[in-house]
Symmetry: C2
Subunit: 232 residues, 2 copies
């Protein structure tokens, strides 16, 4: 793969501690590929032959059962996804598809496992990344089991606004039907949930959301570090 991508990939915590030599060796066996939107990259149940890294665009992880489908997570640059299956040399538990036009790096899983055994620092980084992902899903599970859909939406909006910066309004990062699935509800229910948050200062204009009174919304949503803080 072209060396021009190296700096971007190096920004990942996962690779930060590698020597240039080892990093270059890992990249030599890897591919960079571009994909149009709405392409299925991974199908759940397939063996995990590659560790995937998203350089640009957006990827959705989703899962299916018995004719139903649900959004599990959205992945944005620059990060890896489905690390656990790569490490365990197991089958993917989730499918993945591009949301937008995206550029991905594919690293053969065997190379990742080899490097893990050779490089102590890399092993440490893998574990940290894995622990991070693990804790994120625990938070997500707490969110699902302890909150109603209205509360989940309220807290989601608070998190998004915090990410957007200091402005009181922001753009939803994907279409509402995806958001609904991500939050564990139907699109119709999401529509009504937005209206239900109107009394707490949530103003909706298409995919643009404004939170006019953060304190008011927080009083309802009761965000907490052990569920909503994705950095720890």
């Amino acid at each position: 793969m072209p060396e021009s991508y190296y700096p971007d990939i190096k920004t990942l915590d996962l690779f930060a501690g590698l020597t240039d030599e080892r990093f270059a060796q890992l990249m030599r066996g890897s591919y960079v590929q571009n994909f149009p939107p709405h392409v299925e990259l991974i199908t759940e149940g397939d063996p995990a032959n590659f560790l995937h890294i998203i350089l640009s665009g957006a990827v959705e992880l989703f899962a299916s059962w018995n004719g139903r489908e649900t959004s599990m997570a959205a992945i944005r640059p620059i990060s890896t996804f489905i690390l656990a299956a790569t490490i365990k040399d197991a089958r993917y538990l989730m499918s993945a598809r591009t949301l937008d036009k995206s550029r991905l790096v594919l690293i053969p899983s065997q190379d990742v496992r080899n490097l893990f055994d050779e490089d102590q620092g890399f092993a440490r980084a893998i574990v940290t990344e894995l622990a991070q992902c693990y804790r994120s899903t625990i938070k997500s599970q707490k969110d699902l089991k302890l909150r109603t859909s209205l509360e989940r939406l309220a807290n989601y909006l608070l998190r998004q606004q915090a990410r957007a910066g200091t402005t009181p309004d922001f753009e939803l990062p994907f279409e509402k039907r995806k958001l609904a699935s991500f939050l564990g509800m139907t699109p119709e229910n999401l529509s009504r949930a937005f209206k239900g948050l109107k009394p707490y200062g949530v103003v909706v204009d298409g995919s643009r959301i404004a939170i006019t009174d953060r304190a008011e919304l927080e009083a309802f949503a009761r965000p907490c570090a052990l569920i909503d803080d994705y950095s720890t």
Copy 2:
């Protein structure tokens, strides 16, 4: 701690590859403690000072928010719990309490992290264990988002019966109210769910469950490896 416990603890995959010397050193800094039932061992939000191992008894992991509480998992011997917080040197995301009288090993988190950096095989084992836990929570999340409560119960019963062996009946491993919380429903709803499974050959007698026609129940529950197989 007494050396008499060493063989039991050594049965854990996590420690299987350690030299006797390193293992003994790790154990030297650790404690064994006995606890009565219904004792809170860990409170969510606390710093993760110890890696916990359960030698006998049973432990429940649970989480709270805004006055509500939910069961996240049940841990049985011999296994570790809350490994991710130990590795990340972070705060616990879940609380833990004994369900029965239990014996636990507490290993200082710092010792685990040190050993991780020293011993390649141990690092590999930690990663495998972590990846396993991660994948289990993904499965659990798919279970929650893709299935109704009746389907979750049906699949849970099928899993339990498979674990119990060849007999068509088995004992629920904990009280029904816990099971309800674990499955993400109320005790009342669970009661009705059991009755709802009667047409598929589920016979309930107190905490004893019999599945009279596995094929019939499977036709309804539609168990699948990517959700219900906890070994991969």
